[in-house]
Symmetry: C2
C-alpha cells in the first residue's frame, strides 16, 4: 500500500521525504519533519521499533511507546503518510537477508552493540524500498547511524538524498532522546555530563590543545565526577571513516556513550581546531 | 542516467524488465530476453562481469568477452536499454556495503564459492536500485542464484517480480554457459555427463527409487566414468531452502557442479516422484 502510494506520488512529480523513527516522538523528531518539509512536498514518517537492531540484553521490550500521541503530533506537523508496520510484516519467519557494512560498525557504538548497525541498515533499506523516498532525514544525534546510512546509500545506489539534521536539546542542553525517559531525577543531572564534556572539549581546543588523548582524559574525568555514570566510550574521530584521530588539525567528530541507570545515552559534536 | 531513464519510463506507465548478464551472450541469455518481453514493455539488459562474485582463484580475468557482438544481438532482440557500467563505477574505492544471506549460501555452490552469493546479491541489489525494474528474469540454470535473488527480493521488499526461465541446452543437451568455451573437444564430451546424470536420476525415480543417496551414488559413478571430471557436489535438496533431502516423496531439486579442465560446470533439474 505504501509502495503503490509512492508510485502514484512519483508519477505526480511529488518529491517524497521519509523520516524513519521508532516512535515516542519528541521535539527532536519534529525538527526532522520541519527540516524534511524544506526538501520535498510529500512527507512520510515511519514508526517501527526494529527488533534486529537491539541486542539480547537491550531495551527492546521496554522501549517507550505512545502511538496515539505520535499520530496526533504527526497530523499537526502536516505529515502526509504514516507507515506503522508490525514486526511480523517486516520480518517474515524465513527472513535471512541483511545489509552489512564491513568497516563503519567496527567503531563507537558498534563495539558494544555488535549487531546494531546491521539491523539499522537492513531496516532502513527495507523502508527505502517500500516508501521509495527521494530524500530521507536522520538526526545528527545518532551520528554513526547517519554515517552508516550515507555509506549504504552510496554503496547500494539508492539514489536518495540523506539529510543530517542538528541535534535538538532540552533547555539545559541534554540531547533529546526517547531513552531520557528512563532517567530518575538524580540521573537526569548526571546525564548533563555528556554535553558538558563536549563543551569542555570545545574550550580546550579553543585554548590551543591539539592532542585528542588529553581532551578525552578531561572528558572522562568530568563525566566520572557525576554519580552513576558508566562510560561506554569517548572518541575523537574522522567525520567520515570514524577512525580515531590523535592530533586535531582539522574538523573532527567527538562522540561518546555513557550508561546512566537503565539508559545508555549518546551525544556528539563537530570540533573545529 | 539509467535511473533518470527508469523514472521517466515509470511515469509513462511502462513496465520495466531487467535481465542482468555478464555478457558473452548465448541462446540462453536470448531466451531470457524473449521471456522478458512477455512481462513488460521496456527491456533493459545489463552487462557487467561482477568482480565481487569471483573468488581469488576463479576466472574473473579470463571470463570471455565480446561486447560488440553482445550489443548487436541485443539490438536484434528489441532491447530498449543496455547498461554496461565499469567496475570503478560500480565499486568506488570506499565501497564496504554488502547484501548477505544467512542460510542459502551455505549449500551447493556456496560451499566451494564462499563469497559468491554475497557478491551476486550485492550487485543485483545495486542493479535493481539503479534500473528500478518491475520484473527481472534469471535463468534456472543458475538455480541457487535464482533462489537467493527471490529470497533477497522478499526480505528487502524490492517489490520486483522474479521470473525463472528454463535452461536452454545445446542439441546434445549440454546446458548453455559462457564457460563452455573453456572446454576442449574431449572435455566437451565429458561435460555431457552432467545432464546424463540428471536424466539417470529421473529414470531411477520413475522406476521407484526414493532414496536420494542411491541416486547420488549412481550419478557419481556415471560422471566419474568420463575422463577429466572432478565432482564438486551432487545434491538432492528442497527446492526453496536447498536443505538436503533423504527420501524423495515430493518434488525436489537435483543440482550438481563438476570441474572439467578449466571449466566449472553446473546443471540442475526438478525431480518429481
Amino acid at each position: 500500500m505504501m509502495r503503490a502510494r509512492s508510485d502514484r506520488m512519483r508519477r505526480q512529480y511529488k518529491t517524497i521525504v521519509l523520516i524513519p523513527t521508532m516512535g515516542f516522538l519528541h521535539e527532536g523528531h519534529l525538527s526532522l519533519i520541519k527540516e524534511g518539509h524544506k526538501h520535498g512536498d510529500d512527507m512520510a514518517v515511519s514508526i517501527f521499533v526494529n527488533p534486529t537492531q537491539f541486542g539480547p540484553e537491550e531495551d527492546l521490550e521496554s522501549y517507550p511507546k505512545n502511538l496515539e500521541r505520535d499520530l496526533e503530533l504527526l497530523q499537526e506537523e502536516g505529515v502526509d503518510a504514516v507507515f506503522t508496520p508490525d514486526a511480523k510484516e517486516i520480518y517474515g519467519n524465513k527472513f535471512q537477508t541483511y545489509v552489512t557494512l564491513e568497516k563503519l560498525p567496527n567503531y563507537l557504538c558498534g563495539l558494544s552493540r555488535p549487531i546494531h548497525f546491521r539491523g539499522v541498515a537492513t531496516v532502513v533499506a527495507k523502508l527505502f524500498n517500500t516508501v521509495k523516498p527521494h530524500v530521507a532525514v536522520f538526526g545528527r544525534k545518532d551520528y554513526q547511524q547517519l554515517v552508516v546510512i550515507r555509506q549504504m546509500v552510496r554503496d547500494l545506489d539508492f539514489g536518495i538524498e540523506i539529510i543530517g539534521a542538528p541535534t535538538v536539546r532540552e533547555p539545559d542542553c541534554l540531547a533529546m532522546s526517547s531513552r531520557n525517559k528512563y532517567l530518575t531525577s538524580e540521573q537526569r543531572i548526571s546525564a548533563l555530563s555528556l554535553y558538558k564534556s563536549l563543551q569542555k572539549a570545545k574550550e580546550l581546543i579553543k585554548s590551543g590543545v591539539q592532542d585528542a588523548a588529553t581532551i578525552i582524559d578531561w572528558a572522562t574525568e568530568l563525566i566520572q565526577s557525576y554519580p552513576e555514570t558508566d562510560i561506554d566510550y569517548i572518541a575523537i574521530c574522522d567525520t567520515e571513516t570514524l577512525v580515531d584521530i590523535q592530533i586535531i588539525d582539522r574538523p573532527v567528530q567527538m562522540a561518546l556513550a555513557v550508561r546512566i541507570g537503565k539508559a545508555r545515552l549518546i551525544d556528539n559534536m563537530l570540533l573545529n581546531p
